[in-house]
C-alpha cells in the first residue's frame, strides 16, 4: 500500500510548502477560468481572452522589470486593456483585424525587450520562463492570499451578474429591452475576463493561459447543455488537470533527462487537451450511434423532417 502511494506521490509531496501553495493556487485559478471560459464561449469573445493574455505578457514583464510581483502587472494591464477594448468593441469588424494583430505583436515585442533587459540586468534567468510559461511551484507565499482573494471576488461578482450576463450574451437587444445597461455589463465582463486571464497566467503563464480558459470550457460543453453545470464541470476539469499536473511534475524530479523536473504547465495543458480529446471522441461516438438509430427503418418517426419544417 505504502509503496503504491509512494509511486504516485513522491516522498515529501504532502509536506512540501511549494506543493501546498500550488494546490491552492491551481484550484482557485481553475475554478475562475472554468466559469469565465464558459461565458467567453457564450459571448463569442475568445479573441478577447487571447488579446488579454498577449497584453498580459507586457504587464508581467514590466512588473518584473519594476521589481514587483507579476500578478500586479497581469491585473493592472489586464484591467486597463479591458477598458480600452470595451471602448473600441471586441466583437470587431473584419477590417480591424489587421490593426489589432499589429497592436498585439507590438505589445509582445515590447515584452521581449523588457524580459531581455530584466534577464540580463539581475541575472534572474527564471523570469522569462515564469511569465511566459508559468511556474506554479514558484508562486510566493505572500502572493497566494491575494490571488485567492482576487479569485473569490471574481466568482462573487460573476454570481451577482449571472442572469443579466447570460441574457446579454444571447442578445444585447433582448437585454437592453429589459432595461439592462448593456455596455456597462460588457465592461464588467471584460474586467472579470482580465482577472481570470491574470490568474491563469500565474498558473500556466501568459502564453498558455488561453488554453486553461477555453480548454476545460470546451470539454464541459461536450458534456452538458446547462450553463451552471457547464461552469462547474469546466472548473472541475481544470482542477483535475492542474492537480494531476502538480503530482506528475513533482514526480518528474526523478525522471530523465536532467532529474531537475519537468514544468507543471506542460502537464496541465497536455492533460487539458487530452481530456478534451477524450470527451470529444465519446460525444462523437454517441452522436454517431443515435444517428444510426435514426436511419434505422424500425424508427420511422425519427426520420429527418422534410425541408421547410422548422
Amino acid at each position: 500500500m505504502g509503496t503504491v502511494v509512494h509511486t504516485v506521490f513522491a516522498p515529501g509531496f504532502f509536506s512540501s510548502d511549494p506543493v501546498r501553495l500550488a494546490v491552492v493556487t491551481g484550484l482557485m485559478v481553475a475554478l475562475v477560468s472554468g466559469a469565465l471560459g464558459v461565458f467567453t464561449v457564450l459571448r463569442g469573445q475568445s479573441f478577447a481572452g487571447h488579446a488579454l493574455s498577449d497584453l498580459g505578457t507586457l504587464g508581467g514583464s514590466s512588473a518584473a522589470l519594476a521589481g514587483v510581483g507579476p500578478l500586479w502587472g497581469f491585473v493592472g494591464v489586464g484591467v486597463v486593456v479591458a477598458g480600452v477594448m470595451e471602448l473600441f468593441g471586441t466583437r470587431q469588424r473584419r477590417s480591424r483585424d489587421v490593426a489589432t494583430g499589429l497592436v498585439l505583436s507590438a505589445a509582445l515585442g515590447l515584452s521581449a525587450l523588457f524580459l531581455y533587459i530584466g534577464t540580463t540586468m539581475d541575472s534572474t534567468t527564471g523570469v522569462t520562463v515564469t511569465i511566459l510559461f508559468g511556474s506554479l511551484f514558484t508562486v510566493s507565499g505572500g502572493t497566494v492570499p491575494l490571488l485567492v482573494l482576487l479569485g473569490a471576488a471574481t466568482l462573487a461578482v460573476l454570481t451577482v451578474l449571472y442572469r443579466p450576463l447570460l441574457l446579454g450574451s444571447v442578445s444585447a437587444e433582448l437585454a437592453a429591452a429589459r432595461g439592462i445597461p448593456v455596455r456597462l455589463l460588457g465592461l464588467a465582463f471584460l474586467v472579470l475576463l482580465a482577472l481570470a486571464t491574470a490568474l491563469s497566467s500565474m498558473s500556466v503563464g501568459t502564453i498558455l493561459s488561453p488554453a486553461l480558459l477555453v480548454g476545460p470550457a470546451a470539454t464541459a460543453l461536450r458534456l452538458t447543455r446547462r450553463p451552471v453545470a457547464a461552469m462547474a464541470l469546466a472548473g472541475a476539469v481544470g482542477t483535475a488537470a492542474t492537480w494531476i499536473g502538480i503530482v506528475l511534475a513533482y514526480d518528474s524530479y526523478r525522471w530523465p533527462p536532467t532529474g531537475r523536473g519537468w514544468p507543471v504547465s506542460f502537464f496541465v495543458v497536455t492533460l487539458v487537451f487530452a481530456l478534451y480529446l477524450l470527451t470529444d471522441a465519446a460525444a462523437r461516438i454517441s452522436t454517431a450511434r443515435s444517428r444510426r438509430r435514426d436511419q434505422d427503418p424500425q424508427y420511422p418517426t425519427a426520420a429527418p423532417a422534410p425541408a421547410g419544417v422548422n
Partner: protein, 289 residues
C-alpha cells in the same frame, strides 16, 4: 382585478411623436393607439422608421416631441408590460444554453444574484414552451435551433412575464414562407390565449393580411393608421408618400407601386407571385413593400 375601463383602455398610445437622428427627421407627428389584444402591423419599406417606432415604445430611444403611454402611464414605469422579440439571435451552436433556459430568463433575466430553484417557475416555463409548440425542442441548445424554432422560443421568452403588448421586429424576415406562416398562425392564436396585443413590423404586409386588425403604415417618417382596407388605398398612401403611388390587388395580394399603374389583363395571372415586377406601364419601378 382591473375594472371595465382598464380592460378596454389602450395598451399603447403615441401622440405627436417626433424624432431627429443625426440631424435627419426620422419621425414626425406620429400618433396611433393599440387596444387590448389587437394585432397591429407596422408596415413600411426599409428605412421608413419602423425600427425607430419600436425603439421608442421599448424606451430605448427618447422622442424629441410627443407622448408615449403604455397602459396609460409614461413609459419608464411600465417596462415590464412590453415584451420584445428581435429578428433573430446569434448564439454559438456549442453554447450551453437550452431553449428552456432562454425562456426562464424571460421571467427574471434582469435580476441580480443566483436564481433559487422554484417549482412554480419551472411549471410556468413548461406551460409557455407548450403554448408556442416548443415542447419537443425545449432541451436543445439555442444555437442549434432553426429560424422558426428560435422565433417560437423568443416569443415564449417575451410572453412569460405576461406583458400586455408584444413588440416584434421583422420576425418573418429570416424565415422561409412556410415557417413564416406558422409563426403568423401561432401569434394569431396565442394573442387570444395570452390576452396580449401584438405590434409587428414587416416590409411585406401580405403574409399578415388575414390576421391584422389594424395597420400602421410608415413612409417618410409619417404614418397612416386604420383598418387595412382603409389605409392601403391609392389616395391614402399617395397622400402619405407625398407623390402618386398605386395600390394593386392581385390574387388576394397587395402591391404598392410608385407612379400611376394598372395591371393589364394578361399580366394578372402571374403578377401575384412577384414582389418587384417590371410592369409594362409607365410606372417603371415597384416599391418593395
Amino acid at each position: 382585478m382591473p375594472g371595465q375601463a382598464a380592460a378596454t383602455a389602450p395598451v399603447l398610445e403615441l401622440e405627436g411623436v417626433g424624432v431627429r437622428l443625426g440631424g435627419r427627421r426620422v419621425l414626425d407627428g406620429v400618433g396611433f393607439t393599440i387596444g387590448p389584444g389587437e394585432f397591429t402591423g407596422l408596415i413600411g419599406a426599409n428605412g421608413a422608421g419602423k425600427t425607430t417606432v419600436l425603439r421608442i415604445v421599448m424606451g430605448l430611444q427618447a422622442p424629441d416631441r410627443g407622448r408615449v403611454l403604455v397602459d396609460g402611464r409614461p413609459l419608464a414605469r411600465r417596462k415590464r408590460s412590453v415584451g420584445y422579440v428581435p429578428q433573430q439571435v446569434v448564439v454559438d451552436p456549442d453554447a450551453p444554453l437550452r431553449a428552456r433556459d432562454l425562456v426562464a430568463l424571460g421571467l427574471d433575466g434582469e435580476r441580480l444574484g443566483p436564481r433559487l430553484p422554484s417549482r412554480r417557475n419551472r411549471d410556468r416555463v413548461e406551460q409557455m414552451l407548450d403554448a408556442v409548440d416548443a415542447g419537443h425542442f425545449a432541451d436543445a441548445r439555442v444555437g442549434t435551433l432553426s429560424g422558426g424554432e428560435q422565433q417560437r422560443v423568443l416569443i415564449a421568452h417575451a410572453l412569460i412575464s405576461r406583458p400586455r403588448l408584444l413588440l416584434m421586429d421583422e420576425p418573418l424576415a429570416n424565415l422561409d414562407i412556410r415557417s413564416g406562416q406558422e409563426i403568423v398562425d401561432l401569434l394569431a392564436r396565442i394573442r387570444t390565449e395570452q390576452g396580449v396585443a401584438v405590434l409587428m413590423s414587416a416590409h411585406d404586409m401580405n403574409p399578415l393580411l388575414p390576421v391584422l386588425d389594424r395597420i400602421v403604415y410608415v413612409a417618410g417618417g409619417r404614418v397612416a393608421v386604420g383598418r387595412t382596407d382603409e389605409v392601403v388605398r391609392t389616395e391614402v398612401l399617395s397622400r402619405l408618400y407625398g407623390h402618386r403611388v398605386s395600390v394593386l390587388r392581385v390574387d388576394g395580394r397587395v402591391l404598392v407601386v410608385s407612379g400611376q399603374a394598372s395591371l393589364p389583363g394578361p399580366a394578372v395571372a402571374n403578377a401575384g407571385a412577384v414582389r418587384t415586377l417590371e410592369t409594362g406601364t409607365e410606372a417603371g419601378t415597384v416599391e418593395r413593400l
